[in-house]
């Protein structure tokens, strides 16, 4: 046994995030913790690594009591972790990010007069190759795509040569193909280096493929522990968590998607024509064109790093395109500032969500309220009707919400600005299957209200159900466009560009 938690509890403002959790982790074991958003999984990790102090209970690593140790000491003892929200050193190069961790892990961090440039170069490169970032070592970590930053995080965690590795949603934001590769990589790594791995994950394929043992959490408590087979057969687990997205039946599809709204004459709402966008010197989008008509839901699909986020940010003016034209309601908006574009009626829900953590849910909504730009004029009451869970959390601080609730709050907050077009960047990222379904149902309701939506996704299942038309992106080009039905009937494209 390498790690043990005894009767661990932690409450935030009266709500028990972790409730009397006891567990033992065997050496060399690959195990996972699953459960709906808000079950307390990340809190549990934060307790393990000293980022939070438990209210009661004790923690042992290799028979040593680590309950009250600060994070740096726990890390030094051989526990490595990656974080749920990306956590790299943004302005340092990819190489330096990993080198830093290696140097520190080997206790060389306090060397004063040795040139760091030539230290542990081979080790750093090996580790970068291992996580698949060998060709990107020179670029600043902040410039990497989301999925690559996740890989880099694992690289940083491995730099400390940990014996116990805690991974918090490592594959969130990765394409299905990347996820498979990554899963194999972790499996191999655990074997080769005799690592003990514990991960929190929502992708059930990953969980069932590589776990020796699965623990299921709900409302802060562990409700089941067992092998993948045992967990799959467990009725209680089925109920709280495992509504498998891949097995969605036709009726559910219909219940989610109200179908195209009948608008007599569909007016064009957004017309993007041949835009070229750059990040510094690198060319990201190449003559990209797309259209959204009133009341339509359009999805942009593609793997990690093909330019989905950049497309949305280009429309929003956050990464202004150098050439081309973007027309919103027939007015040219290319070159305008983001606040101006937002005021004209485009609402953006970023992948990072960025809620105001110290404001309550109600305040988060109130602060975003703007006069209507078109036909919509949402009141908080109407919004609570669409997102009932937010109404229950009205007075809770934004920062204490679970991932799924934060996603809903971000969408809700954007709606308070009464946009006529909603841009959503990876709304399903990092959410449990059931929560993804809920969020998409809520988007379906919005569609029913006649809201025009443009969303990007890597996980195509729900996006394909909800959207009227789809664009598939590859290396900054649109390589396919059409109706979702055609795409589903075209497994070659699905495989080639989406890795499904």
């Amino acid at each position: 046994m390498i790690f043990e938690a005894r009767h661990l509890s932690k409450a935030f403002g009266g709500i028990k995030a972790v409730d009397d959790v006891s567990l033992q982790i065997e050496e060399g074991e690959v195990s996972s913790i699953i459960g709906p958003n808000g079950a307390g999984k990340s809190t549990l990790f934060n307790l393990f690594t000293g980022h939070l102090r438990p209210d009661t209970g004790e923690l042992f690593y290799k028979d040593e009591n680590i309950t009250t140790l600060p994070p740096y000491k726990i890390s030094k003892m051989g526990i490595g972790r990656s974080f749920q929200r990306v956590n790299v050193f943004p302005e340092l190069s990819v190489f330096e990010n990993v080198q830093l961790s290696l140097l520190s892990g080997r206790g060389l961090g306090s060397r004063l007069f040795q040139g760091a440039g030539k230290m542990l170069v081979t080790e750093t490169r090996d580790l970068l190759d291992l996580v698949g970032l060998g060709d990107k070592e020179g670029s600043p970590a902040g410039f990497l795509s989301y999925g690559d930053q996740k890989r880099l995080e694992v690289g940083i965690a491995l730099g400390g040569a940990p014996e116990l590795l805690l991974l918090d949603e490592p594959t969130a934001g990765m394409s299905p193909e990347d996820t498979v590769n990554f899963t194999r990589f972790i499996q191999k790594l655990a074997k080769d280096r005799h690592l003990t791995v514990v991960f929190v994950e929502h992708d059930m394929k990953v969980v069932f493929t590589i776990s020796d043992k699965i623990r299921v959490m709900d409302h802060g408590a562990i409700i089941a522990t067992g092998t993948p087979e045992e967990i799959q057969a467990n009725k209680e687990v089925q109920r709280v968590y495992l509504a498998d997205a891949d097995k969605i039946s036709e009726e559910q599809v219909v219940s989610v998607s109200p179908g195209p709204v009948e608008v007599p004459e569909k007016a064009n709402i957004l017309d993007v024509k041949e835009i070229d966008t750059f990040y510094g010197l690198s060319h990201i989008l190449f003559k990209l064109s797309l259209k959204v008509d009133e009341g339509e839901v359009i999805s942009i699909l593609g793997r990690n790093g093909v330019g989905k986020t950049t497309t949305l940010k280009s429309i929003m003016g956050l990464t202004p395109p150098k050439r081309g034209s973007i027309k919103f309601l027939e007015k040219e908006i290319r070159g305008r500032k983001p606040f101006h574009i937002s005021r004209m009626g485009i609402g953006f829900v970023p992948e990072e969500r960025i809620i105001f953590p110290d404001l309550s849910v109600a305040e988060n909504l109130e602060i975003a309220r703007k006069p209507p730009t078109g036909e919509f004029n949402w009141t908080p009451q109407e919004i609570y009707q669409i997102f009932p869970v937010l109404s229950k959390r009205k007075n809770q601080k934004g920062g204490t919400l679970s991932g799924g609730e934060q996603q809903m709050l971000t969408i809700a907050r954007t709606l308070m600005g009464n946009p006529q077009l909603l841009l959503l960047d990876e709304p399903s990222e990092g959410l449990a299957p059931l929560v993804v379904k809920t969020v998409y149902e809520q988007l379906g309701i919005l569609k029913g209200h006649g809201m025009s939506i443009l969303l990007s996704e890597q996980n195509s299942t729900f996006a394909l159900i909800l959207s009227d038309r789809t664009y598939v992106l590859e290396k900054g080009h649109i390589c396919w466009e059409g109706e979702p039905r055609e795409l589903r009937e075209n497994p070659e494209i699905m495989k080639k560009y989406l890795g499904v």
Binding site: S75, S110, L112, Q114, G160
Partner: protein, 315 residues
């Protein structure tokens, strides 16, 4: 690869040329200018030392004058009141600044961001007040006068050479430090303290380390200034001195190693030139600072390196 090598070569040649020129300057320039350049060098050491903490560590102190004062007055008091050798008094300045800063820093790094800044400001004010009021020891408002300098360094040219040597040594040591593992850790902590903690870094201890290092070099500058000026007054080490040092870093560019050096040169030149025309030189300086912060955040060094890399790209 070719271009990278030629780039390093170019940098080395420019540095060598600058060093040689520095030693030859007294042949061409009269004493007034040499004295001005000495001042620039002393300010450079202070600003580079301060920039270790601000630019590399991301810790914005509002009170660098406090550490500068500790160096200046330790050296000054020793040279006025005792007979200890000059070299010893010169070393005692920075050492004393560093030692006292272990205590000051121990409190300051307990807080981050604006709270950190306010603590440093408070400590600098404490140092200032003690110096200004303790007539018996520091001379109070009357200052310390008659700071003796040995024969071998008396005369502006000689003191200038001494300052060049000390400045070169300090810059070399600082350059080594920021490129060492320690320097990298500091930059990592600036970028993401939470992540840094979980690659086994005792963040507070590293921050204290850079605080004390920074204090040491600020102390060096203070000690040099005592010897250079021959006297020292509270007005040399008040809040305005802190502002000078911070502005020099911003002006020169805090994300480049030599930025503060460029900043010092520009700052003293502007001061000198404008003072010839108007007594409201601070007004002009204020406008320049506003312009820099709004339109050239990288400072002078940032501006130059942008132009330079644009040139390299074209070539």
């Amino acid at each position: 690869m070719q271009t990278a090598e030629s780039h390093t070569l170019l940098v080395r040649i420019s540095i060598a040329a600058a060093v040689v020129t520095a030693f030859l300057l007294p042949l061409w320039l009269h004493a007034g200018w040499i004295s001005l350049i000495t001042e620039m060098l002393i300010l450079s050491i202070a600003a580079c030392g301060y920039n270790l903490m601000m630019g590399y560590g991301g810790m914005v102190s509002f009170g660098p004058a406090g550490q500068y004062a500790l160096g200046a007055y330790t050296t000054g008091v020793l040279l006025v009141k005792t007979n200890i050798p000059f070299a010893l008094a010169m070393t005692a300045g920075p050492v004393c600044a560093a030692l006292l800063s272990i205590v000051i820093g121990w409190f300051c790094v307990r807080r981050t961001e604006v709270y950190f800044s306010l603590l440093t400001l408070a400590f600098a004010q404490i140092v200032y007040t003690v110096i200004q009021k303790w007539y018996g020891f520091t001379g109070g408002d009357d200052g310390l006068v008659g700071i003796r300098v040995p024969e071998i360094l008396s005369g502006i040219d000689k003191y200038y050479f001494f300052t060049v040597l000390v400045a070169l040594f300090c810059l070399f040591v600082m350059w080594k430090m920021i490129n060492s593992p320690f320097g990298k850790m500091i930059q990592g902590i600036r970028e993401n303290p939470r992540r840094a903690e979980f690659i086994s870094l005792n963040v507070k201890r590293y921050q204290l380390g850079i605080f004390v290092t920074s204090a040491f070099f600020l102390g060096v500058a203070g000690s040099l200034y005592s010897g250079f000026n021959g006297s020292i007054f509270p007005a040399n080490i008040d809040v305005a001195k802190s502002t000078d040092i911070i502005v020099v870093c911003l002006m020169g560019g805090m994300h480049h190693f030599l930025g503060p050096v460029l900043g010092s040169i520009a700052y003293i030149l502007i001061n000198k030139i404008i003072a010839n025309y108007t007594q409201y030189w601070a007004l002009v300086l204020g406008i320049i600072i506003i312009g820099l912060v709004l339109y050239a955040q990288g400072g002078i060094a940032g501006f130059i390196s942008e132009r330079y890399s644009a040139l390299r790209r074209e070539a």
